[in-house]
């Protein structure tokens, strides 16, 4: 497969995952702010920004709808939902002959819907939520469209090298985003572990789980009894839940191995070592070990590792030096 094609498929997938994550985060918080909770608006929305990596030039100015609008539609902010959709679609256009017609159709419809003239104004008018449609409706549509795209990808595209690069993009993005999400909540949930519960943290904890689509899955394992260490255990180490860090890294490793098999590469050793080490650190640890040492440090280390894996993938498959390739 051409390196450029792998690059486009990888980023198409990452951008969609990024859009989905931001969409859910906004949707959950727009919904939870309607209820009375211990969390002030400032705390809530600053936390949202933190979970998105504190984007430059995006500021919390006190209006949740204005902030949502910016994070959704502002194309000068390169990780806004609309920017991500545009970038994903642009990447897919470059590999139009590599993806299935159904995939193209799905992604193109999402793009056409999101860029429809007047879309923004029908949602938000002059910063107030006085538009004819609710922002949450739009956010729901985006989430559904991304889910459908994933389903269509799985059922219409050959599960060869290209599909594996889509998996790699999705899970590396998901692992990074989940790690940042937990980190944003860390201070309040585990920062003062000895402080007695005030009774209304419940909504916050639910918000964290729902931001990772994890609420229902958590309840199936631990019942609706929410406790900080169980939440951490679930989001970090659950083996079966698709948004947990462990599951994401397992899936990433699995896709990387498939790619190594496809391209029959012996020089993939550094990548195998890197991904394997990260996988092992999630598979053979316990939540107590993590909490005893340093939760934030542990989460940051995962993000660093993900970045290193990304760079190694590029050195190996996409951006390698010609000299090295000729010698090998």
């Amino acid at each position: 497969m051409l390196s450029r094609v792998a690059d486009s498929l990888y980023w198409m997938s990452r951008y969609l995952e990024r859009a989905e994550h931001a969409t859910r985060l906004l949707d959950v918080n727009l919904n939870l702010m309607l209820d009375e909770s211990a969390t002030s608006a400032d705390r809530r929305w600053l936390r949202v920004l933190k979970a998105l990596g504190n984007p430059k030039d995006v500021e919390w100015k006190g209006d949740p709808y204005a902030l949502t609008r910016e994070l959704t539609f502002d194309t000068s902010y390169k990780a806004s939902i609309l920017s991500c959709i545009i970038s994903a679609r642009e990447n897919s256009r470059h590999v139009r002959e590599q993806i299935s017609t159904e995939q193209w159709h799905q992604l193109n419809s999402l793009y056409l819907h999101a860029t429809r003239p007047g879309m923004q104004n029908s949602l938000y008018n002059s910063g107030n939520n006085t538009g004819t449609e609710q922002p949450t409706e739009f956010l729901q549509q985006v989430m559904e469209a991304v889910h459908q795209f994933q389903g269509v990808s799985d059922s219409t595209m050959s599960h060869g090298e290209g599909w594996q690069f889509i998996q790699v993009g999705r899970y590396i993005e998901r692992a990074t985003a989940t790690a940042m999400l937990i980190e944003a909540y860390h201070e309040e949930l585990w920062g003062h572990i000895d402080r007695p519960a005030e009774g209304n943290e419940y909504l916050d904890w639910m918000g964290l789980l729902r931001s990772a689509t994890a609420f229902e899955a958590y309840c199936k394992v631990y019942t609706a009894d929410l406790t900080p260490d169980r939440i951490l255990e679930f989001l970090l180490l659950d083996e079966k839940f698709p948004h947990s860090l462990r599951f994401s890294i397992d899936s990433l490793q699995c896709a990387l191995e498939a790619i190594q098999e496809d391209s029959g590469k012996s020089r993939a050793e550094p990548l195998r070592r890197l991904a394997g080490r990260l996988q092992a650190s999630l598979s053979y640890t316990s939540v107590d070990d993590v909490m005893r040492v340093d939760v934030v440090g542990y989460l940051r280390e995962i993000q660093v590792q993900c970045r290193a894996i990304h760079e190694t993938i590029y050195e190996l498959y996409v951006d390698y030096s010609i000299q090295a390739a000729l010698a090998g």
């Binding site: 390196s3 792998a6 470059h94 056409l112 860029t115 996409v318 000729l326």
Partner: protein
């Protein structure tokens, strides 16, 4: 028996009614009409078509037209028109009625095109090597050397099988007497073949019975033939050549065609940035390291293909590609420098070129052409600008043209000035009425001007799939068939008997 007679009678009456309804705006003029030999006088090969259409319920044609449009849209056979924020996609304008060519007519076209491409290919070999035709004074040296697309770099270079023109799309028109003549040779990177193929696919879906009734010769083998042609041109000692299609990328208006052909041939679609050269060998960057490339079907113009050899500001090309080509390590189809043979001034010499190399009379004639470097012809042209068509020699796609009868005095003055300043830069031809074929305009049939671009492949031998792209000037009275200027296309049926 009586019922049969009656229904047959009914049908004829219905047919007559349909004809008089549908053809009430079908007015003949001096141009050759593909369907009617005279008022109400249907040419025999169009009879089954009219009979079939007359048997369809009213509005059925419109309904099928919509089905065809939808089919194009779903297949993604579209042009993308980009605005600032949102993109819209338009389908390539398409007419529902097939253009029908009899087997006898096609036989002449096929022989004529084979003769012409053979001679032009010999001409390219000659001028880039010994230059006999120049020594013998058949074609003046200055016409060749002053040509924008002449490539000095090709001098003395041995190309595989001596094939310079692997793919060519020649534009033909029909004169008032019905004779096919050559309007233009496209020897660089002719496009449009994907529309020929997709038009056919849609037609077979929309009119299966009608298609079956006519014995139409197939064209679906085109992509396989193209692949075979490219494979036959691979460098020596590369039995399993790696063939790629080089595209300028997604922003090119023909990108759909590039992706379509690559997919149909099962070859990789590459862009300049996917290729690297090392020690005069071309490689493509894959996830599994570098892979050698042997044949490049390039859809990038000469100028942009190698910033080291040609335009230094090109970002579409591959540095060092030309040297790899010179070294014989990679084949390019078409070769560099083929554009010299489709220069519009050189066009006037093609009949002489055919006679010189093949000692044959040209089977397909040229359109009469005035060379403005000759004083007498120039004076004649300048005095008759309002009756003639003037074309810039290095342009294509309908750009840089003056159509005398439809021009304003100011435009004519401007062209006169340009001609005086650069007589080599222009040629003039009489205004020719292309032939006209029936098109569905609203609910009625109306005649529209058409041309024909058959696609000629030259590898082991010359192959032409029967038919080609019939382009239609959909605006009433218009003579410009280019898609960039309001043209459309229709399926072309070559009959097997």
């Amino acid at each position: 028996m009586s019922r049969y007679t009656q229904s047959s009678y009914m049908q004829t009456a219905q047919a007559k009614q349909f004809e008089s309804d549908a053809l009430k705006n079908y007015l003949l003029d001096h141009a050759y009409d593909e369907m009617l030999a005279g008022p109400g006088d249907l040419r025999p090969h169009y009879e089954p078509l009219m009979e079939h259409f007359s048997s369809l319920p009213p509005n059925e044609l419109q309904r099928r037209k919509q089905a065809a449009d939808l089919s194009f849209l779903n297949q993604g056979i579209t042009f993308t028109v980009y605005g600032r924020e949102e993109g819209t996609e338009k389908i390539f304008p398409y007419d529902l009625l097939p253009r029908i060519i009899t087997s006898a007519e096609w036989a002449t076209v096929e022989r004529g095109l084979t003769q012409r491409i053979t001679a032009l290919n010999l001409f390219l070999k000659d001028i880039y090597n010994e230059g006999r035709i120049l020594d013998d004074g058949i074609v003046p040296r200055e016409v060749v050397y002053s040509c924008k697309h002449f490539r000095r770099q090709m001098q003395g270079l041995q190309v595989p099988r001596n094939v310079y023109i692997a793919v060519c799309g020649t534009d033909l028109i029909r004169l008032e007497n019905g004779e096919f003549v050559v309007l233009e040779d496209n020897l660089r990177v002719p496009s449009g073949v994907s529309y020929m193929l997709t038009n056919r696919r849609v037609m077979k879906r929309i009119f299966p019975q009608l298609f079956h009734r006519y014995n139409v010769r197939p064209i679906e083998q085109y992509t396989q033939l193209l692949l075979g042609t490219l494979r036959s041109l691979a460098p020596e000692g590369r039995p399993e050549p790696n063939i790629v299609l080089l595209s300028p990328g997604v922003f090119n208006s023909a990108y759909f065609e590039h992706a379509y052909l690559a997919r149909q041939m099962g070859i990789e679609l590459v862009e300049g940035r996917d290729l690297v050269t090392h020690d005069n060998v071309v490689y493509m960057r894959t996830t599994n390291g570098l892979r050698r490339v042997d044949v490049i079907y390039r859809r990038v113009d000469d100028d942009f293909i190698d910033p080291l050899a040609f335009r230094g500001d090109s970002i579409l090309g591959v540095s060092g590609l030309f040297n790899a080509y010179r070294a014989g390590n990679v084949t390019l189809a078409n070769a560099f420098g083929t554009g010299v043979a489709d220069d519009k001034a050189l066009y006037a010499y093609v009949p002489d070129i055919i006679k010189y190399y093949l000692s044959e009379e040209p089977i397909l004639k040229n359109v009469e052409t005035y060379l403005l470097t000759r004083k007498k012809e120039r004076q004649h042209v300048l005095a008759n600008l309002d009756k003639l068509v003037v074309k810039a020699v290095g342009e294509s796609g309908g750009y840089g043209m003056l159509i005398g009868p439809q021009s304003t005095a100011a435009e004519r003055e401007e062209f006169a000035r340009k001609i005086e300043a650069d007589p080599r830069g222009f040629i003039a031809q009489p205004t020719i009425s292309f032939s006209r074929a029936p098109c569905l305009i609203g609910d009625e049939l109306e005649p529209r001007h058409v041309d024909l671009r058959p696609y000629v492949l030259y590898g082991d031998k010359v192959t032409i799939v029967p038919g080609g792209l019939t382009r239609v000037a959909l605006k009433r009275g218009s003579l410009v068939v280019n898609s960039s200027q309001g043209g459309g296309s229709k399926d072309t049926w070559v009959l097997s008997q």
